[in-house]
Symmetry: C2
Subunit: 389 residues, 2 copies
């Protein structure tokens, strides 16, 4: 067991990095960003990436090498952070609450940003009049649609759609459009089903926009997206913008859905072997759920990846080795049940990289990315992440 390890501050290579640590492969990140940008271009829509996965201005700079573009955020804290870095056109893609509206409007007043809000009820629409009065800012709002029974939003054919739109206008707010998220697409696993889910998301959203336009609402933005449907959409006629977030990093859930290969997954947790139980086929590492997250998103997929797929220190997948169990700071590596393989040699002090079930959840457990490229041990940069609300 070699104990000549430097502290994190001095780390120039991953060999000297404290474990567990979050790695981000820059080459894979760039390739993933490029892939969806090209697809959006071909389909003739604006891409409005969701920053809830990366939560890092440094990642955003790879998405927008020039001027800051339109983004989606999942918290007002993200909106405040990205506004501080020059972003102006943002959609807060969570239904508005009393507190979030006030903070969003204060941010708009302070920075000149346009933070677009989501609502799906007349109560929320009616509250906008007071907001305008109190803050001096005219809120921009989307009506949230429900295209697949996933979560919130109005069905495209719900008569309340028009009522809510009228109340938004009556409150003096700016109705910018309709917005849907095909969240149920995460549960699919064939190209056919994904193409259909994408078309369902499109047709539902466009139908709602047409209803509003037929009643005098301009509805300039028709926004939809989820990482699976964004990649499988073949036609986005009538749609103006596409949203996706996890596509920058990808993960094992997206791999199980069929959107990416294992070699596209851009983040992993670097861990160190701290013990073994040869009689059980276990190798213990110092990455538990605190580093990997408790996400078990692959549990209901065709291949259950446990708490993550294990790669060697250079990022090469160790076939059928997964994190079988996780406690707070311990992970137990084992061979996937039924695979018939045996554990590779992973002595004390050896390093592994663990791919995430869910990139958003794994990344959220860390406060920075150690940026690497391919199998090189060199750390190119350290990128901070934000958290909180």
């Amino acid at each position: 067991m070699d104990t000549s390890v430097k502290t994190r501050e001095a780390a120039q290579t991953i060999d000297a990095l404290i474990t567990p640590s979050l790695l981000l492969d820059r080459g894979r990140l760039e390739r993933n960003i490029q892939r969806l940008a090209e697809h959006a271009r071909k389909l003739g829509v604006v891409l409005r990436p969701h920053m809830k996965t990366a939560k890092s201005i440094d990642v955003t700079r790879y998405v927008f090498p020039g001027e800051p573009g339109p983004i989606t955020v999942s918290t007002i804290a993200e909106a405040e952070y990205f506004a501080g870095h020059g972003f102006r056109d943002m959609t807060y893609a969570v239904g508005m609450s009393p507190a979030s509206v006030v903070r969003a409007m204060e941010l708009c007043r302070r920075t000149g940003a346009d933070v677009k809000l989501l609502l799906d009820s007349v109560e929320q629409a009616d509250a906008l009049a007071g907001v305008r009065e109190d803050t001096g800012v005219t809120p921009s709002v989307f009506i949230e649609l429900d295209c697949d029974d996933h979560r919130g939003g109005l069905k495209p054919d719900d008569p309340k759609l028009l009522e809510v739109a009228n109340r938004v206008v009556a409150a003096g707010a700016n109705l910018v459009g309709v917005l849907a998220h095909a969240g149920e697409s995460y549960g699919l696993s064939t190209a056919d089903a994904l193409v259909k889910a994408a078309e369902n998301e499109r047709s539902a959203t466009v139908r709602a926009a047409e209803t509003l336009r037929a009643h005098g609402h301009a509805c300039p933005i028709v926004s939809l997206g989820s990482t699976p449907t964004a990649h499988f959409a073949e036609n986005l006629e009538g749609v103006t913008e596409l949203r996706a977030g996890v596509y920058m990093f990808f993960d094992l859930v997206q791999h199980g859905v069929g959107v990416c290969g294992l070699d596209d997954i851009a983040i992993s947790v670097l861990a160190t072997v701290i013990g073994s139980k040869p009689e059980k086929g276990w190798v213990l590492v110092d990455a538990g759920w605190m580093a990997l997250s408790r996400d078990r998103g692959t549990a209901n997929q065709q291949i259950d990846q446990g708490y993550g797929v294990v790669c060697d220190e250079k990022g090469r997948v160790l076939e059928d080795v997964i994190v079988a169990q996780a406690s707070q700071e311990h992970g137990i590596l084992a061979i996937r049940a039924g695979s018939g393989k045996s554990m590779p040699d992973l002595p004390l002090g050896a390093r592994v990289r663990i791919l995430p079930n869910h990139a958003c959840a794994m990344a959220a457990q860390h406060h920075f990315y150690a940026v690497v490229n391919g199998d090189s041990p060199r750390i190119e940069a350290r990128w901070e992440r934000i958290r909180g609300w």
Copy 2:
């Protein structure tokens, strides 16, 4: 919908708090701390609380109102943080890796702290000689025991136990004792089974200590503990210290095991209603897995609590209302399947408190506690938490 909400900085009451926010009920915290302290006193053992749950110096001050006492930590970052606040006697309860040893010994040299390490192999024992040479500090080490096939550690009757002990001494390190953790007790649910698990943990640990003593090792510390066995132990003869962490806060998993009541659970997430789907019996709140964690520890218990039990704004349990689904920033509240009840009225903007499946995991998603007491809305203090490794 009332939009007169202040920002987090100005919050004096939870009504003005940004949601989601982590609440900590001081009265419950004090009661839980008192309960196990008294039990340890009766059993005649030292209590060495695990700080992996609270990760906050302010919480620690309720455990040790006077001088800092002995604690357990799950990361070297915790050891560094608590050393900075005057703690000296610490056990790092994760198997040592090359990097963790070096950082721990550097901390000892710098501050005079005694950070005790864990090992269960001759390879780790042999590495200690070099550590002593490199850092000038004599490492204090425990041999980790495996009393219930939970994770790492040597079986008490494993011949390697003596070999490892001898190699520790040969490396010039200080063998301070043996340590076990009855992690499998989390899977139990009857008092009988818990009493038996506690006695098994005790007898296994004491047996190992006696073996070592019979061969000339002093083995002064006999350490064991898990929150369930710590509370159900009836006799700790031969044991010198007890460890537990989640007992300060408790959670739904511990409630399911039978260690605490719902009214003992000291932390919760305050959330705001942002929508509803009456036709589905859903109420949407702005706390998803980012605020609650992805932990589903009650999924395999007799009562599956979803992503958490829902209380009203004052902390009174709303019977059979749970967080049925969670996405990143959305929680879906619904009635527990089969309960026959109907959803209480939770209008837009209403606040609820959500109890955790797993306190360690929920707390880790937040960077501070808003400290409250009982059903009062007043915020008494804001306590920071640490994170990272």
